[in-house]
């Protein structure tokens, strides 16, 4: 049971649960600015849990990745998205979730599904924090669900970024971090992706005059 763990491991568990909660909050959030805000909170939680793992397992190199995710995922990318939203005057735009209750139930069943999938892996290992791996798989799947259910390009990008958060969390808690080169590479890839997405936003908007990507599937400008 949970009371046999050390305080730091308990805190890692709590962080895992809170990261799932932020994924659900993103799923239900229709205002773009708040969506980016919740995404920033998820980045901060991710960085905090990395630091906790670094402390409890005495792995100093994880502090570097904690700092990286703090700067890039907690501050830089949200700030970039925030600036984009402000510059493109989208801060009043609503990206309404259709059937929010169904999306939420779908999200909850994704968590159950990822638990079911990860159960054999967890049983094989002796690492106590390993059952957070199903949580991180759930975060990945929830990010995909966010991308599927939204029409707005910014919301889809946030979903994409949160998929990356889930993968990063899985790497930290189950294999105690990737090699530093890989980690640095991924961090900068994500950063570059954010920049490129920004350019794409302007491209999409100048060609279809909206960021509703459902319009991209129509061939002509004329309404039928």
């Amino acid at each position: 049971m949970v009371n046999t763990l050390s305080v730091y491991q308990q805190a890692v568990m709590l962080m895992a649960a809170l990261i799932t909660l932020t994924s659900f909050l993103m799923l239900g959030q229709s205002r773009l600015l708040r969506l980016v805000g919740v995404f920033a909170v998820q980045g901060l939680l991710l960085s905090a849990s990395t630091a906790l793992v670094a402390h409890s397992m005495a792995l100093p190199h994880l502090y570097i990745s904690a700092a990286l995710s703090l700067v890039i995922k907690g501050l830089l990318i949200p700030a970039m998205l925030f600036r984009l939203i402000m510059r493109m005057n989208l801060h009043r735009e609503m990206d309404t979730v259709e059937h929010p209750a169904r999306v939420m139930i779908g999200g909850a069943s994704l968590v159950v599904f990822s638990y079911y999938v990860c159960l054999p892996i967890v049983k094989l290992s002796t690492l106590i924090t390993l059952n957070t791996i199903s949580v991180s798989l759930a975060v990945v799947l929830l990010g995909m669900l966010l991308m599927i259910t939204r029409r707005h390009a910014v919301a889809q990008v946030v979903g994409f970024m949160s998929i990356e958060n889930g993968l990063f969390f899985a790497a930290v808690v189950s294999t105690l971090g990737m090699p530093m080169v890989v980690e640095l590479g991924i961090a900068f890839d994500v950063l570059v992706a954010a920049v490129i997405f920004g350019v794409f936003f302007f491209q999409i908007r100048s060609s279809i005059d909206s960021l509703d990507v459902d319009r991209l599937s129509q061939l002509s400008e004329v309404e039928e």
């Binding site: 305080v7 568990m13 895992a16 649960a17 909850a108 059952n131 949580v135």
Partner: protein, 315 residues
């Protein structure tokens, strides 16, 4: 001694509940830069209502005059189940938390029946809203109970509190979610902002006040008192379930005094939190209540899932 405590504890609920309401009002007034009424004002209001003549509407049947007594009695019985200053009470061992939810449902049923009995538009409207909200709040409440029961291996409140007390300070993700969900449910069920505004009788959006609009005199006093006890019940439930420290585990005088002091301080702190949220938030549109409560339900489901995923081991 144990039975004496078991009888004394509901009486303590009855005595303290108006004070709690007064304290919440006091903190709210201070936060809003207003002059606060005395802490004893709710007692004075109750006394005033008690001595006034009670007028029954012409169309009222026996349900209308019986409902206040039944609602009050149901709250009193629920108060007997929830440990206030001491655990291990005989009454708390007889009935578990489902019985408490059942008492709440009983009280609500008669409140709603009384609202519809007189046949005014407001009564029926308030009744239908109350039922809508409670039908969404009750599943979330029960999911919270299930989550707690899975950790503590019991649905008995006294034993569950004992379990939390014994295991010391443990960070349980499921408890964090359950606490948040229970707070949202408590706000909805006790009719506080942002679901319902307890301070007004003159709004089209009122829920609780709409049902008891036709009551006067001692009937109204009983209804008000019952809803104050219900607010306190939820407060005590949150405080003692998640933070049971310093509750009395035996019936020695020092332990009881410590338990009483602890619960008073916990309730005071919780009401400051409530007053803050009531000051910061505006009342919701009635059609958004469903979102609010489905979020509570989501939190409780996540609590249960995180208990299964994160807190149970196979190693």
């Amino acid at each position: 001694m144990a039975w004496l405590m078991a009888i004394g504890q509901p009486l303590l609920f009855i005595l303290i509940a108006p004070l709690l309401t007064g304290w919440i009002k006091f903190v709210k007034c201070r936060l809003q830069n207003r002059k606060a009424p005395s802490l004893l004002q709710p007692y004075r209001d109750l006394r005033k209502l008690w001595v006034k003549e009670a007028i029954l509407p012409e169309t009222a049947s026996w349900i209308f005059s019986a409902a206040p007594v039944i609602v009050f009695a149901a709250m009193l019985l629920a108060a007997a189940i929830v440990p206030l200053v001491a655990v291990n009470l005989p009454t708390a061992r007889i009935a578990d938390v489902f019985v408490m939810v059942g008492f709440f449902a009983l009280a609500r049923t008669f409140l709603v029946l009384a609202g519809m009995d007189i046949g005014t538009a407001f009564g029926g409207m308030g009744a239908s809203r109350e039922m809508t909200i409670s039908s969404m709040a009750e599943p979330a409440m029960l999911m919270v109970v299930f989550t707690l029961a899975m950790s503590a291996q019991t649905t008995n409140l006294s034993l569950a509190m004992q379990y939390v007390l014994d295991s010391g300070l443990v960070l349980r993700p499921s408890f964090v979610f359950a606490l948040a969900a229970l707070m949202l449910v408590a706000i909805a069920e006790t009719g506080r902002i942002p679901i319902d505004n307890p301070a007004t009788h003159l709004e089209l959006t009122m829920i609780h006040e709409a049902m008891i609009l036709e009551y006067s005199g001692r009937y109204l006093a009983l209804m008000e008192w019952a809803s104050q006890i219900k607010l306190m019940l939820y407060g005590v439930l949150i405080a003692n379930m998640f933070f049971p420290w310093h509750i009395a585990t035996d019936f020695s005088l020092e332990a009881l005094a410590e338990g009483l002091l602890a619960i008073v301080l916990k309730l005071a702190a919780l009401s400051v939190l409530l007053a803050f949220s009531e000051t910061l938030l505006a009342k919701m549109r009635i059609f958004r209540v469903q979102e609010f409560l489905s979020f509570a339900y989501l939190l409780s489901v996540l609590g249960m899932l995180s208990h299964i995923i994160l807190e149970v081991y196979y190693g």
